[in-house]
């Protein structure tokens, strides 16, 4: 009985707290986070929500009968994951992986995962919407937008395009 009397003010308080939290959330949602990495000397970015983990280079088993951009598969704690060589995918000059090379493991929409081989991983970029510029026409193929960081532009990859492979 005393419980039902207490629900009034308590739920009121809860409502107020929820409202405050929602405001904070709105502000934060304007600021988005990206993982940045380099390819052939230039900076690129991916939305952080798509990144499951980043792992060091490890033996890649070549797979026959797949497009050349697929370097092969790696074994990741029991999962077998294809690795897409982003240099090959974007038509950049070939280069053997180095100590700095990393594999960025992505979540797929359907729960499946894919690895992206990149030259190195830099940091997490936090910017607000006003720093996002449309991509210039020529690169529209695989770059979704340009992210302004100081006086430098970071290319945001269009993941759906990049992962759509011929064959």
């Amino acid at each position: 009985m005393s419980e039902s009397a207490a629900t009034g003010p308590r739920s009121f308080e809860a409502l107020a707290r929820a409202a405050a939290r929602r405001d904070a959330l709105d502000e934060r949602s304007l600021r988005r986070e990206f993982v940045t990495f380099t390819l052939d000397g230039d900076p690129y970015a991916l939305p952080i929500e798509r990144v499951r983990e980043i792992v060091r280079m490890r033996p890649i088993t070549p797979v026959p009968r797949v497009p050349a951009a697929i370097r092969g598969v790696i074994s990741l704690r029991g999962e077998v994951v294809e690795v897409l060589d982003l240099r090959r995918r974007l038509g950049m000059p070939e280069r053997a992986p180095t100590r700095a090379s990393r594999i960025i493991v992505l979540h797929g929409d359907d729960g499946a995962v894919t690895g992206l081989l990149v030259d190195s991983v830099r940091d997490v970029l936090r910017i607000t919407e006003e720093h996002v510029r449309p991509a210039s026409g020529g690169e529209a193929d695989s770059v979704a937008a340009l992210l302004a960081r100081g006086d430098q532009f970071v290319s945001l990859l269009d993941l759906e395009r990049v992962l759509e492979l011929a064959g």
């Binding site: 490890r58 033996p59 890649i60 088993t61 070549p62 797979v63 026959p64 009968r65 797949v66 497009p67 697929i70 092969g72 598969v73 790696i74 074994s75 029991g78 999962e79 077998v80 994951v81 294809e82 690795v83 897409l84 797929g108 499946a112 995962v113 894919t114 690895g115 992962l163 759509e164 492979l165 064959g167």
Partner: protein
């Protein structure tokens, strides 16, 4: 357009599933009704469990048909529920009229389902409405009333009974059974199992009328129940039978003490209160001791546990990882032993490893065994289908089943239902001739389909044999040429021609009947079986019959593989498709019309070089090579590799990423040290090699 078509297909698939599920319910209901009528014929009381089952089946059918917008059937099922509810509550007796209503409803729903399968359910609602009218007339008849029995029971307990439970109580008293209250306490975490076991034990000697949580004090981790039980046994005998302490069973019947039934009821509540309350209080003080004691005695009944299959999968994965770790350990031991400085430690490690290996094998076998289920369920489903087909058509076909106890991994058994169903329906529809045709051909009028399962090594073989018309290989050839699968002059053996039955889009009979799952051919059966790591093969003699043989691994989780090397890469080949391996002298390789062959004991074995097949880069031609002889059914292929690296247990994992499926690769596995190793899809490789030969031969012939 494309999406709409897909939507339609899904709807028809859902529809088919509905029809088959409804048919299953109906099939069971027919059997139950027969039992009910038989019981009545013998003059016995209707078995309450049987009436309950009928009630539940009407309820499921109501929900199912409602979901599919079949209002007539749904409404009819609702009224049937009413009828059965009255019967189970004892409000009405089972009479001829009730039985006729139930029988007619089964017939009506059965014919409605058939119409539905034809895609035309016209007239069903009207027929249902007529029957509903009859049901209403029947239920309007007055129900007999029953005087409540006299019992020594806690009124609180009586008040808690549902109408049905009260009816069962009265019914049991009327029949002179004794009524008891059985107290039991269980561990709060596992009381459901304990209660289920106790209930099952009671059912062997009587009926559980009601199960009520008991208010008596009990230790925190325990929960108490009182079961209202009807039985021929007296309290002491019941307690002994249930392996419970004597004071856990209290008599609720007066007749135990020969008390006169004439005792005025108004007195009863007080004495009852005391009688019931006192023992409860008595047992409370030693509930601490009594609890474990009761549990201990219940444990003797406990023999089974239900486990979520996913938990078993996790366990299986863990065992798989352990198996891989063991492989790494074996390799380490070998390396150590080969170095003189560490040879002794290496030898020790190898010994330890041997012990580990044995235990691991036992563990693996143990986990596998838990996943095994007999094929019986699938076979029973098939025999129901054949019974239904036999009823709906005028064919006379007998289904014989052998080896229903053969066990397979639960997951495989589930995936087998569709392909087996297809094979059996094919046999029924196409292979078995009409009785007249059979008689004219000098066969028995009744055709037979034999399903046989047995274990062979690490595989289970399921063979479906019919004694029907068999497959005419010349008809298959003509059809294949028509479809462009074969050039007119191609020389194919009888075996190879029969194998064409599995080619997509080749059906040996022009017509497609209602029951055979239109347009789905043996190619789908092969695809299903191959996906399970199995192999399907067919043999047939025109006029005599056909045998479809499916060979399946006992489990999907771990397979034995042969590890081979080609160029600088390693591959795993499932051992169940490796027939033999040969060290090859390059001079033995013969060429015929640009193709490489090997004379294998007089047979020409076509050869493929794995390094070329997968463009792995050059492997030295002069270097010694091995031929791995692969066999899928009767087809053979020699796969040339550079190295044989031994056998190993591997866990096949699917490959994740943008390119999902690669022809010739079944998946990948981890070999401990070197990351992922690809597992070859042998049946795709063998198929491709054969298809290429046919293509090349055809290409050369055409100018």
């Amino acid at each position: 357009m494309a999406t709409r078509r897909r939507g339609d297909r899904r709807r028809t698939k859902a529809h088919r599933e509905f029809v088959s599920e409804a048919e299953e319910i109906l099939e069971r209901r027919r059997d139950e009704l027969t039992d009910l009528a038989d019981g009545r014929g013998r003059g016995a009381e209707p078995d309450p469990e049987l009436v309950n089952r009928l009630f539940r089946s009407a309820h499921s059918l109501k929900g199912l048909s409602g979901m599919f917008g079949l209002d007539g059937i749904s409404e009819l099922s609702h009224h049937l529920e009413d009828v059965l509810d009255r019967l189970r509550l004892g409000r009405t007796q089972l009479d001829d009229a009730a039985l006729a209503l139930l029988d007619d409803s089964v017939a009506l729903i059965g014919s409605a389902l058939e119409k539905l399968e034809d895609g035309d359910a016209a007239g069903v609602d009207e027929e249902a409405a007529l029957l509903i009218g009859r049901i209403d007339a029947w239920t309007a008849a007055p129900a007999p009333s029953d005087a409540p029995g006299e019992l020594e029971l806690d009124p609180a307990m009586l008040r808690a009974l549902t109408e049905y439970e009260e009816h069962r109580l009265r019914e049991n008293v009327r029949r002179g059974r004794r009524i008891h209250v059985v107290d039991a306490s269980f561990d709060i975490l596992s009381f459901e199992e304990g209660l289920a076991e106790l209930t099952a034990a009671v059912r062997e000697v009587g009926e559980v009328l009601s199960t009520l949580p008991s208010p008596g004090e009990s230790p925190e981790s325990q929960i108490r129940f009182s079961l209202l039980v009807a039985s021929e046994l007296d309290a002491a005998a019941l307690a002994a039978r249930l392996e419970l302490p004597a004071d856990a069973v209290r008599s609720g019947s007066r007749r135990a003490g020969e008390a006169s039934a004439a005792q005025p009821p108004p007195d009863a509540p007080e004495t009852r209160d005391e009688e019931l309350a006192a023992p409860a209080r008595e047992t409370d003080p030693d509930a601490g001791d009594g609890g474990p004691l009761e549990l201990g005695s219940l444990k003797s009944i406990s023999e089974t546990v239900r486990v979520d299959i996913r938990k078993l999968d996790e366990l299986m994965n863990l065992v798989g990882e352990l198996v891989i770790q063991r492989g790494a350990l074996a390799k380490l031991a070998r390396t150590l032993r080969h170095d003189p400085a560490t040879a002794r430690a290496g030898a020790e490690l190898e010994k330890v490893h041997k012990g580990l290996e044995r235990k691991l094998q036992e563990l693996q076998a143990g986990v596998l065994e838990v996943r095994m289920v007999p094929l019986r369920q699938v076979f029973e489903k098939l025999s129901r289908v054949v019974r239904r087909l036999r009823r709906d058509t005028d064919k006379e076909v007998r289904l014989e089943i052998r080896g229903a106890d053969t066990e397979l991994d639960k997951l495989i058994v589930e995936e087998l239902v569709d392909p087996l169903m297809h094979v059996v329906r094919n046999a029924f529809d196409h292979a078995i001739e009409s009785a007249e045709e059979r008689q004219a051909a000098g066969k028995s009028r009744e055709g037979s389909i034999r399903l046989e399962a047995y274990q062979r090594g690490n595989d289970v073989v399921i063979a479906a044999t019919d004694d029907g018309r068999g497959i005419d290989v010349e008809a298959v050839r003509r059809r294949a040429v028509e479809r462009g699968l074969l050039a007119p002059g191609d020389e194919l053996s009888r075996k190879e021609l029969l194998d064409l039955v599995f080619a997509p889009g080749l059906s040996t009979r022009g017509e497609v009947t209602e029951t055979s799952g239109r347009g789905v051919g043996m190619d789908v059966v092969r695809a299903n079986i191959t996906a399970l790591g199995g192999v399907v093969d067919l043999d047939s003699i025109a006029g005599r019959g056909t045998t479809v043989t499916m060979t399946l691994p006992i489990t999907l989780a771990i397979i034995q593989a042969l590890i081979v090397g080609a160029a600088d890469q390693r591959f795993a080949i499932p051992l169940n498709s490796v027939r033999e391996t040969l060290l090859l002298d390059p001079r033995d390789v013969q060429r015929s019309d640009g193709r490489e062959l090997l004379n294998l004991r007089g047979e020409a074995l076509p050869l493929r070089r794995l390094a070329l097949e997968f463009q792995l880069g050059a492997s030295e031609r002069e270097q010694k090579q091995y031929a791995v002889v692969l066999g899928i059914g009767d087809a053979r292929l020699g796969l040339l590799v550079d190295r044989l690296e031994g056998q190993q247990d591997v866990v096949i994992k699917p490959i994740q990423g943008p390119v999902r499926s690669v022809r010739g690769i079944a998946g990948a596995t981890e070999l401990g040290d070197a990351g992922a190793v690809l597992v070859l899809d042998v049946s795709a490789l063998v198929d491709d090699a054969r298809a290429r030969e046919v293509r090349e031969a055809t290409g050369r012939r055409a100018p």
